[in-house]
Amino acid sequence: MSKLWLVAKYEYARNVFKKSFIFITLSVPLILAVSVGLGWLINHMENPDAPVGYVDHAGLLTDPIPAPQRAGSPDNPSSSDLVALIPYQTEEEAREALESKAIQAYYVVSADYRQTNRVELVYVEPPGDNVTRQFWDFMQINKISDMPPEIARRAVAGSNLIVRWPDDGPGGGREFSDKTFFNNLLPFFIGLAFIMLLFMSSGTLTQAVATEKENRTMEIVVTSISPGQLIGGKVLGIIAMTLTQVVAWIAFAALATFIGGRYLDIGILQNLSVDPPTIITMLAIAAPTYVMLASLMAAAGATVADSQEAQQMAGLFSLPIIAPVWLGVVIIENPNSPLAIGLSLFPPTALSTIAMRIMSVPIPFWQVAVSVTLLVLCAGGAVWLAGQAFRLGMLRYGQRLNWRELVNVKRKT
């Protein structure tokens, strides 16, 4: 086995079998499961599914048209928050049913409803929003029951605003609507996930190099393998470690989405999708960002005195990467402003800025191309710097390396 792989394998095993790694890998899906479960529980606590009664004094609901279903997509409606509507002839009958807990509440439509729109709601515990919304739709559709049913249903369904990019422009055919809201947020979450992974793995890399220095093993190792094999192996091992975590999380997230959407009828977890160009754009930006940051972290690890200092240094590098999120509102409101475009082209801020912009606008190809080119150049520079730092700093046990030395010295070793 190549020595590069030996280092990668050792680094991978060293990190993956740590208690902290196992704890973090399992705790995230656990939190996810608890969140989905809590969401479902709250939804059901807020929206009890006991029937609701009504007494129609206005004669509007004698031969009622059922309320249209709103939740979920028309193909796969979520029925979890629909309740049965039971007509009562008199208020006494309805009150009796309420007291015997056969219904959770009842509405009384006044005789002069057509003039006053007066409806009374009688309850012991206030019913959930789903009940109000459903009864309101029920009333609306029956008020216009003299119209053809499809027109009545469409009128009750209300407006459905869809913003669509022209088919032949950048991001052609892309749609924004209520139904795609969560799908549109996904690129941002993907970007954030990449940033999180970058911090996790490159921070580990900084520590891995610093620990080598701290343990005084550097001199033994570089007389067994080349510095390139050492750094390359460490990077590969840590990438593999990160991928293990990502795969575990994606698997858990997919499972949670499947269970939440299919069995718990959680609307936002149904019909999730993201378009391939968005994924490709995010990957094209994230890959060189990773190399750039990982190399800078490795350089930091070789320049500092110990692993504690390395961790502080890693924190410093994180700042510009995450900084655009603080300007999130400005960027999302004006995704094509000079500030947003500038931050998209500036290598350290490109990933998070593009992740935010891509939610609302398609990113022009030239901007992605310039950003990726600059990132690749910076990544190359960072790799060179890391090599310099490693060669100069590897034997300076317990000592920091001056960054000026890194840039100025051409052939120190």
Partner: protein, 298 residues
């Protein structure tokens, strides 16, 4: 062909000239001592040999040519700044380092078992390195240096932190390696160990080689400044003797500059002294070291 050939190497760090001009050869199958006071440039010279640093001047040939990645598997190195992975169990740490030296896993496991047994570390193989004593860590370092059966062993202060029993163990091991044909370059401050083990030495001071050659030749070269004399009667005064001091069953006469042992012998014979013992006192390596370094008497 020599195992190591170092020719007029020089290296500086900023304004500090760590190595000014050092040249030496290490012959195949010998134990070579690299000596010098602290800060003389020994460690830098070793790092130049191993291509950790590039020399600004001069050339290094190791195992018949410049250093290569392939040659790293034929060299065992125990540096001055030594360390192992403190959080790793001893066995896993040593197996990993052996794998980096190209030893197949099964063979490494078998060799390690034998060496752990020999160094009395078998019971500690599952312990984390940081839980071991300094002496145990030192023994683990030695195992790491030789587990891949290197042709050239470069070892810096091999006896540091070792008790007399383990010191003897390491000395025996070094002799054994030499018998098996390995070349050993040893850097140490323990002169009596050098006297006991080394065939040849190089003494470096201020980044320059000041004394180099066969150990016995060097000792002979520095002898002649004192003689050990025992007489049947009282020892008469002799010209050219600076100091006379009791030394075991004899008297050690320290000779002044320009006086030779032959002069002293002639003077004693001229006085009809009955000699029971007349021996040229051979200086210890410690004495030679001090004379060379402090008095510049190379």
């Amino acid at each position: 062909m020599h195992t190591v050939e170092v020719s007029h190497v020089a290296k500086s760090f900023g304004s500090t000239q760590a190595v000014v001009d050092v040249s030496f050869d290490v012959e195949r199958g010998e134990i070579f001592g690299l000596l010098g006071p602290n800060g003389a440039g020994k460690t830098t010279t070793i790092r130049l040999m191993l291509d950790i640093f590039k020399p600004e001047r001069g050339t290094v040939s190791i195992l018949d040519g410049p250093m290569t990645e392939e040659k790293k598997e034929r060299i065992g190195y125990m540096p001055e700044e030594r360390g192992l992975y403190q959080d790793a169990p001893l066995e896993r740490c040593l197996l990993y380092l052996a794998s980096l030296k190209g030893v197949p896993a099964a063979e490494a496991r078998q060799r390690l078992g034998t060496l752990l047994e020999r160094f009395d570390l078998t019971a500690h193989k599952s312990k984390k390195v940081k839980e071991l004593s300094k002496g145990m860590q030192q023994k683990a370092q030695i195992i790491n240096t030789i587990i891949h059966h290197p042709e050239l062993v470069i070892i810096d202060e091999p006896f540091a932190a070792l008790d007399p029993i383990n010191t003897q163990l390491v000395k025996d091991l070094m002799r054994e390696l030499r018998q098996q044909g390995a070349t050993i370059l040893m850097s140490t401050h323990q002169m009596h160990q050098v006297e006991e083990l080394c065939d040849r030495i190089l003494l470096i001071d201020d980044g320059k080689d000041v004394l180099y050659g066969d150990l016995d030749d060097i000792r002979r070269r520095f002898s002649g400044h004192a003689v050990l004399v025992r007489t049947a009667g009282e020892l008469p005064t002799v010209d050219g003797v600076e100091q006379a001091a009791p030394h075991n069953d004899a008297v050690k006469l320290t000779l002044s500059q320009g006086t030779t042992p032959q002069d002293v012998l002639r003077a004693l014979m001229a006085q009809d002294v009955i000699l029971e013992k007349f021996e040229i006192a051979t200086p210890t390596l410690d004495e030679i070291f001090i004379r060379v370094v402090e008095e510049g008497d190379a």
